[in-house]
Point group: C2
Amino acid sequence: MKCMLEDLDRLMGQHGLEAIVVHGESTFHNPEFYFVTRAHLARGGVYLKKRGESPILIVNGVDLGSARRGVVERVYTYGERGFDKIMSSHGVDGLPIVFSKLLRGEGVSGRIGFYGMVEANLNMYIVDKLRKMGYAVDSAYSPVLKEAMATKSEREVEALTRVGRRCEEVVEHLYSLLQRCTVTRGKVMFQGNPVTVGLLKTSVNSFFAEKGLVPDEGYILSTGVKSSDPHYTGGEEDLIKAGKPILLDVYPRGPGNLYFDVTRTFVVGKASRRVKDMYNAVVEAFKASMDIIREDLEAAEAMNTACDVFERRGYRTLRSHPNPENGFIHSLGHGVGWSLSDKPTLSLFSRDRLRTGNVVTVEPGLYDRKVGGVRLEDVIAVRGKGILKLSGLDVPFEV
Amino acid sequence: MKCMLEDLDRLMGQHGLEAIVVHGESTFHNPEFYFVTRAHLARGGVYLKKRGESPILIVNGVDLGSARRGVVERVYTYGERGFDKIMSSHGVDGLPIVFSKLLRGEGVSGRIGFYGMVEANLNMYIVDKLRKMGYAVDSAYSPVLKEAMATKSEREVEALTRVGRRCEEVVEHLYSLLQRCTVTRGKVMFQGNPVTVGLLKTSVNSFFAEKGLVPDEGYILSTGVKSSDPHYTGGEEDLIKAGKPILLDVYPRGPGNLYFDVTRTFVVGKASRRVKDMYNAVVEAFKASMDIIREDLEAAEAMNTACDVFERRGYRTLRSHPNPENGFIHSLGHGVGWSLSDKPTLSLFSRDRLRTGNVVTVEPGLYDRKVGGVRLEDVIAVRGKGILKLSGLDVPFEV
């Protein structure tokens, strides 16, 4: 963990911060708080780190055991520090007092950055009170932790690859389910019954559980024209029909609290010419954008490469049209690992520059309201002049 | 939905707010943002509501379909409002401009409350910029949305009860697994093999999936002395032994994006005298605190009632000792539904007063580092002079 701490100090220096505070009601779904503590704190707490010094973590007594299994060595409960008494006599007004006591205890007098997924009103209330007491809480955009989290270590890349493999097994599971179906008069059937998205989801849900994956933001299993809405997650009653796209996009949390993201599109039977053309264009954009990705590339250039491919083939893109209803209507990719929105972002307007250790999705897609959606998605790590593929399942488009 | 909107206007008036903004990177794990939109927005957005007027919601184009399936009628994409161009030429600095344009567009000039689970640094950056432009962003603690969310409608209570029933089925599932075990020389065995927490969890995981429950903050299945750490979630290798407590605490998200929370403790075979005494004390505290809960009660009084029971029986509590290692070492309960930390809180220092429609857990427990933990937990709704039980599974302690 020493490596991460040293990097934090460097980033804090870059942003002119003497200290960082990371807090929240929980470390679940609070990636920055989990990143600095590596602890599952169901009742949250406060993390404080002064530049060049070791951090301190204050937690609810009930989470003390969990906190000690994390990476912070100086762990205390609110009770031990007398903070529960402050809260009892002041209620919510006690919070700024608690933060102030902590900051004073660590001798912080310079600029302080506040981080973590925190309820906006509560965080501003605490910060505004601290400012009135004379603390210099940062007003600038100083994404110290997002920057630290954007670069994954070798070990983290390996752990992510293992989560990725499980995600691929989910895709393979759906593929094998579809293989066992038959087609009767255009309807896809299983054991004499028409196949619905609900039926497939029941099986996929259990498979996630079996693999130790938690789809905590859901997952997408959409089909036919409805799959032309890229974030439509799929309706129970939606019927699977021969020749129509079936889109599976899984983005669960796996062991180590790490997120991964994989998409494949299938067609049972023969795809129509139009869908086939869309698929071929997506494959080309997929390969072309992966080919260009390397250290020092402007992230927007990867998106531009995908747009080049689609526009050359006559499809609309976010770049060619302001609000395209059809075509390539979303960004190419996003950082993934500690959350589903790590840095960098592969979008038209991204100002990120790629660095070795960045882990991003590459997910070109085409959508047509009369036909449906086709998308492919894998995760890659930037590695000097090229990339390392963390996933890359080779599975046929037509089942 | 009209009812909710009217209540928001009233609460905004009470807190002296002309407008509220709710935002975030996603509506997942952002209960306030989901509450006002009732939409699954994977790429988040900005919600703005002026008092007495209908709200407006701005989303990423990719989430437009999902946004329209929610409750806000005035939905636009960043592209439609020209905001993507601002972001493209200004990067992150474009965000305060976007918020300012939105506020001006709705004619907001008075006090504005900011809400939602938002990365603290980013939110403060936006707010501080808006303040420099002359906007009066609230500095007070004004939990308008937490207050609105603390009172559940009849329909929400019914939906929660259905999620509760599924949670009870998970508990019954574990009970039936334990029933099928045998005891050989103090070891709990299944089909000739010693039973571990990992083995039980594999089965419970699949059962969650089957029931459409997502345990997105995990769940607790702990046993023996390790269960004396109330938030220890259980280790794969932990062995189930006869006579030792087995604690199952499930708090998944169910249909309607609603959370529920149920705990039962089991012992395979005969419990020791000490564990039996703990169990009886927990049952008494459970009943006594439920008996006292009614409208207008100070929430801390429910906690005090549980402490009374435990202290009378000679156990330590958070009230009798500052940092008890053993005894009743956590709070009695918390609001549940939109999140696992809705208001009100049944803790010693809570300043909440109970109201009809509040939905809270009641979860007394006793912990002994030499023995383990015993906890019971159900969810109740406050209903005038009494309560409505949303769960209440009757299952034996000794299996």
